[in-house]
Amino acid sequence: MKKLLNIEFIKTLNNSTFKLIIILHALLFMLLVYFSTKIDISIPGFKVSNMFMFPNVWPLFSWYASWFNLLFLGIIIIVLTGNEFSFRTSRLMISNGISRNEFLMGKLMLILLISAWGMTLIFLAGSISGFIFTDKLSLISFFENSHILLIYFVQAIAYMSLALFFANIFKNNALSIMMYLLYFIMIEPLFRLFLPKAIRPYLPVKLISGLTPLPEFFAIGSDDSMISINGKSPLELQGINLFPESIPTYLSLILAVAYISLFITASWYIIKKRDF
């Protein structure tokens, strides 16, 4: 394990594309966080700053970060895996004694580390924001909803596992990135149109992106004057059925883990059978 990590560190930490994407990812995320806290909308009964308080900040920032998962983290994995094929270093690795399983394991470790990095970014940004905007700090409010960070972690792994699968199929960075993005924005959405409504939420992209759903801005931004007797905001969108019922979180998580297993197994099979 340590050996594989050392090898992946040498390869990635010296790769300028990797460094650029990681820095860009952190920078854009922090900028988004910063500028969103500066938005000032004046709606009676609605306070923008409430969205950046504990515990509201966790789902909000996780949702922000999920967009970067798709764009940046997925692409990082495609580039790092695709490079092994375009530089033909996969041959170098195998002929010097790395097993095909270890070759895949190295990439999976990277996925875990990058996911942890993404989660850490949210944690840092969320903590800073929460400490600044929360009026009554408490451990309970700090930890409430923080489980969404783990859900984000699973989501990041899922996106990158799919990216790894595409990189292993196509072996070419440009083609893999194109197909990965096309799958997200065109292929699966089109495919969904031909499926019964009941099945649509269970397709990989829909399900994985649904792990960190769009926060109910009006509900979490409502001030005390808008809280009704039963403790819920009348603006809570689920309540007025603007959004369809979503899959329960636990089920989404189980299915996401199943999809991750499927993508990794498919990558493993390709690597096992491939002539490098």
């Binding site: 090898i7 390869k11 010296n14 530089f87 041959r91 690795m93 195998i94 010097n96 004694g97 490098f276």
Partner: protein, 295 residues
């Protein structure tokens, strides 16, 4: 265990085209084994299969008498086709990856870079190297850990004459140290100068194999000049003196059949009334044999 590699019935097909077909040979410890063949004869495919990079469709091979797994390759140094390295990494870091895989100490890197005259470029990015330097780095990588067996595919590709001489010297030095070297090449001169054994491949099949000097000895050519060349040619063919025979004017060029000597040929000609104006023994170069074999 004297047998380092035993290849048995190896076959690899790309679509309907056979890259190698039912290939078999054995390599003994301490030999420098040349795999010689024109482009497309299956040399790289063979080496890629034995190094675990590609899968054979059928057949098998054993390293050191055992079915190989990934650990086997940690004890073999290899350079397959064009050396593949991370272009953005320095020479040191590229080799560091291999020392990590093979669990070797880092000071091995300086040793092999020194042997291949690349120490001064230790911290240069791989992308900045010339073709010859990249090839030398490939050889340096193969030498990491001082392996008992080295598999080298066209190791002098892209090198200038000085570089070629250096690499050959290195290979000979490694061979003298008792290492087993498997060397694929289409350069006959290289095989003749470096290898103790050779297998000649064409279209994925071994046409001939054996010790280089025996192959050469067996194929000594005899050149005879006689005014009765046509009659002598017929007599020789009738008597089964030749493996191959050609006639051009008054000259006959033949490689003698097994067990026949030039002295016996001279005696046969004399006893049958043929006056030989000239009899000359030509040690056929591997090149002419090679061309003849793959014809």
């Amino acid at each position: 265990m004297n047998e380092v590699l035993n290849i048995s019935g190896l076959t690899k097909r790309y679509g309907t085209l056979y890259a190698i077909k039912n290939l078999s040979f054995k390599i003994e410890k301490g030999t420098v084994y040349g795999i010689l063949g024109p482009n497309g004869s299956g040399k790289t495919t063979t080496l890629s299969i034995i190094m675990g990079i590609i899968h054979a469709d059928s057949g098998n091979f054993k390293w050191f008498g055992k079915d190989p797994d990934h650990r086997t390759y940690k004890n073999i140094g290899s350079l397959i086709e064009t050396p593949s390295f991370y272009p953005y990494l320095s020479l040191y870091k590229n080799l560091k990856i291999i020392t990590e895989i093979k669990e070797l100490p880092s000071n091995e890197i300086d040793r092999v870079l020194g042997l291949t005259n690349l120490l001064a470029r230790k911290h240069s990015q791989h992308i900045t190297l010339s073709l010859g330097m990249k090839q030398r780095l490939g050889i340096a990588a193969a030498m990491l850990g001082n392996p008992e067996v080295m598999v080298l595919d066209e190791p002098t590709n892209g090198l200038d004459p000085e570089g070629i001489a250096e690499v050959r010297k290195l290979i000979i030095k490694e061979a003298e140290a008792g290492k087993t070297i498997i060397l694929a090449s289409h350069i006959l001169d290289e095989v003749e100068k470096v290898c103790s054994h050779v297998a000649i491949l064409k279209k994925g099949k071994v046409l001939r194999s054996g010790k280089v000097h025996e192959l050469l000895k067996n194929d000594e050519m005899v050149k005879i000049t006689s005014s009765k060349a046509k009659e002598l040619h017929e007599a020789l063919v009738r008597g089964g003196w030749q493996k191959n025979i050609e006639m051009n004017g008054n000259e006959i060029l033949l490689s003698l059949a097994e067990g026949k000597t030039p002295g016996e040929l001279n005696e046969f000609a004399f006893k049958n009334g043929f006056v030989l104006d000239k009899i000359e023994i030509i040690k056929q170069s591997l090149e002419s044999q090679f061309l003849e074999i793959i014809k």
